[in-house]
């Protein structure tokens, strides 16, 4: 099977398989870890999550999840509220570090390097794994400064012309350049919601990340702005890996190549988007995408 060859290539000492009897025995209060349907592993992944479990204090938010993020793909994470998809997303660039009482177990690797290793510095990590949030959150500064901030703090360039160049390319990539090129000095907070979100995307790509995490990037936007962002995601895929959490199933089916369905902290099913939406194998997945709950 693809899975075994994959794991043989990588240096994972233990196979992430679950002994159902053992996990049942483990706790009575906690229900058994559900086996993932479909193959969560890829041949040439950008990021790998192995046996990832996240706790908020005593409460376990996600349980022993294995999933890969491929290069130049859009991975959509769907599932009902509280299923742990946002939690997992925020583990990928260690944004969960800022949450008091949050504890991450397991291994998350970016290009083979464990990002939870004590020697890893989160600052460059977050430059490599950018993030776009649910609510557009531009800095209360000018449009130019919003985009230029990342390159500035990471010391990409000290040259003004070069910096202006980075800002321009980022805004072009984010599809915002034409709309703002004449008012770069105006505050970023004065833009419309959709423009603000594209500004945030431009800000994230200005530091040339490898992966962009998007946490429901369109939930605060109207349909037209949403369509623009979706178009943008399709274009950005050529350059970046994108992980998107979304509540809108149509959105997942439109923008993603692979879809992962989460349920109460478990990864239930993962597979090519088309297959998940046309032929879900797990009952829970089917119930969710057909709208029976969630």
């Amino acid at each position: 099977m693809e899975l075994t060859s994959q794991l043989a290539n990588q240096s994972f000492p233990t196979l992430p398989t679950y002994d159902f009897a053992a996990s049942l025995e483990q706790t009575e209060a906690q229900s058994a870890v559900r086996q993932t349907v479909g193959n969560p592993f890829l041949d040439n992944p950008r990021m790998t999550c192995r046996d990832v479990a996240v706790f908020y204090g005593e409460k376990q938010a996600i349980r022993h999840i294995n999933i890969d993020v491929g290069c130049n793909e859009v991975l959509a994470m769907i599932g009902p509220s509280g299923c742990g998809k946002s939690t997992l997303l925020r583990c990928l660039n260690r944004m969960n570090d800022t949450v008091p009482g949050c504890r991450v177990e397991g291994e998350i690797r970016l290009d083979g390097e464990n990002i939870y290793d004590p020697s890893v510095d989160v600052v460059p990590l977050r430059a490599r794994v950018g993030m776009v949030f649910q609510k557009p959150n531009p800095f209360p500064k000018s449009i130019f400064d919003n985009v230029a901030y990342g390159p500035k703090i990471h010391g990409f360039t000290t040259d003004k012309a070069e910096l202006a160049d980075i800002v321009e390319t980022s805004l072009i990539k984010a599809g915002l350049w034409e709309e703002v090129k004449d008012r770069l000095q105006e505050p970023g907070t004065g833009l419309s919601g959709g423009q603000q979100q594209r500004l945030c995307i431009a800000r994230a790509i200005a530091v040339s990340p490898e992966v962009i995490l998007m946490d429901e990037p369109c939930s605060a936007l109207d349909p037209i702005a949403t369509a623009k962002i979706e178009e943008l995601i399709a274009e950005l895929r050529e350059q970046f890996s994108i992980v998107i959490v979304t509540h809108a199933m149509q959105q997942a089916s439109r923008v993603s190549q692979r879809t992962a369905y989460f349920h109460l902290g478990d990864l239930i099913e993962v597979g090519p988007t088309e297959r998940i939406f046309t032929n879900p194998r797990h009952r829970l997945t089917e119930d969710y995408i057909t709208g029976r709950f969630g």
């Binding site: 977050r126 209360p140 990342g150």
Partner: protein
């Protein structure tokens, strides 16, 4: 079906209507209560201002008497100009003005018309220009405070002679001076340029203003940086554990501690233990710093808390370090609130008397302080001292000093508003 529906709907809507009107009435009542509260507060404020200004505005004018002084050379034989008998010059001038007064007791009450400070102003004039010696000059000298009170109408000439401090003969001389145009009221520059004095006509607030200024400078320089640093650390960096909880509770308690306790602490530590000089702006500033710090820390933390978390996430999300997140984004957004808190704390420090009493800034100090370690008093303490003085003329000085203090407070609050507007980030 439809008619049935209507019938059930009707009583409901009637009920609803009644209920609505009741709600509107309640809202109106509430609004009227609010307006009444504001009106009461404003009228108290107006009363306060009216009473202070009413009893204090006269202090800004001062009565002066014109004397024909002859700087006779005989008096300035000594090389040392300060050794000359300037008081004698004044007395001589008064005798020349009223040649008919001969008797010793009458002369004494004649001399009482002029302030003892007049001799000093003559001395200053001679010091400035020694060519005056040998000449005859018409000089305006400050009148004594009793004369001043009479001219300002605060002492009634109609009262029985035994009840007033100016006797009938003195009233006669004053009347004559007035008739000759040798008596007038002028703007009281002394009040704004000199230090404290036992003589009301010579007392001024400049010493207290400078004492307050030096104290507040120390308070600002210490409490703002320390307060902001503490607030930022506690809010942004400190782990949330038992110890930070204890610290937080204690800071909140400190903000509620009566200020005289801080005075006692200052006395025990700064003066008795460290041996810093007493009654100085240095110690006053340190004590006021202790008092202001909790206010600034609490205001600072509140304004840091009000910075939306999305900004922090945005900064961290593109790889800013925690320090960069704080200095580039959080602090600029929290700054207006922090400045407001600092200025409110400083205004409280400016108006606080009790801690300064404990560290000796209540002493009677005539000299204007020239630095942080000179003995000094402060504005509120000066008000306290004058309010305690028996001379009638100090009443108006007290009110005038309160006006000056209020003016400073209004300026500081205006500065707070302006700074908040200036630093406020447009969203």
């Amino acid at each position: 079906m439809a008619t049935e529906n209507k019938q059930t709907m009707k009583p409901f809507s009637v009920h609803m209507n009644k209920d609505l009107q009741r709600r509107y009435r309640a809202e109106k009542r509430f609004q009227r209560c609010g307006i009444a509260a504001i009106a009461i507060a404003l009228s108290f404020l107006a009363l306060l201002f009216a009473s202070i200004i009413g009893s204090g505005y006269t202090a800004f004018r001062q009565t002066f008497i014109e004397l024909d002084v002859h700087f006779s050379e005989d008096l300035f034989k000594d090389e040392n100009l300060a050794a000359a008998d300037y008081a004698g010059l004044i007395k001589q001038a008064l005798r020349t003005a009223f040649p008919e007064v001969k008797e010793r007791r009458a002369l004494k009450s004649l001399y009482m018309l002029v302030s003892p400070g007049a001799a000093f102003s003559l001395q200053d004039m001679v010091k400035e220009d020694s060519r005056l010696i040998g000449s005859r000059q018409k000089i305006w000298v400050p009148a004594n405070d009793d004369v001043d009170m009479l001219i300002k109408g605060q002492m009634k000439a109609t009262e029985a002679e035994a009840d007033r401090r100016l006797k009938d003969d003195q009233l006669g001389w004053i009347g004559q001076l007035e008739k000759d145009g040798k008596l007038e009221t002028r703007f009281n520059t002394t009040f704004f340029t000199s230090g404290d004095s036992r003589e009301p006509e010579l007392a001024g607030i400049w010493g207290a203003v400078k004492g307050s200024f030096y104290s507040l400078l120390i308070t600002l320089l210490l409490s703002f940086p320390i307060g902001v640093a503490a607030a930022v650390y506690l809010e942004e960096f400190a782990p949330k554990n038992f110890w930070t909880d204890i610290i937080e509770v204690n800071i909140n308690n400190l903000a509620a501690v009566p200020s005289i306790i801080f005075g006692l602490l200052g006395l025990a530590i700064f003066i008795n233990f460290w041996g810093l000089p007493r009654s100085t702006p240095l110690v006053g500033g340190l004590v006021l710093t202790l008092m202001t710090l909790p206010v600034i820390i609490i205001a600072g933390r509140a304004s840091l808390k009000s910075v939306p978390p999305s900004i922090r996430e945005a900064a961290l999300g593109i790889g800013a370090s925690k320090m960069q997140m704080v200095t580039h984004h959080v602090l600029p957004l929290a700054m207006p609130g922090m400045l407001t808190g600092a200025i409110i704390g400083m205004a409280r420090a400016l108006g606080d008397t009790a801690p300064l009493l404990m560290i000796g800034m209540v002493a009677f100090i005539v000299d204007i302080p020239g630095g942080f370690t000179d003995s000094a008093t402060a504005l509120p303490v000066q008000i306290y001292l004058w309010a305690d003085s028996s001379e009638r003329a100090f009443t108006e000085k007290t009110s005038a000093a309160i006006m000056v203090l209020l003016a400073f407070l209004i300026c500081m609050n205006a500065a707070a508003v302006i700074m908040r507007k200036k630093f406020e980030t447009k969203w």
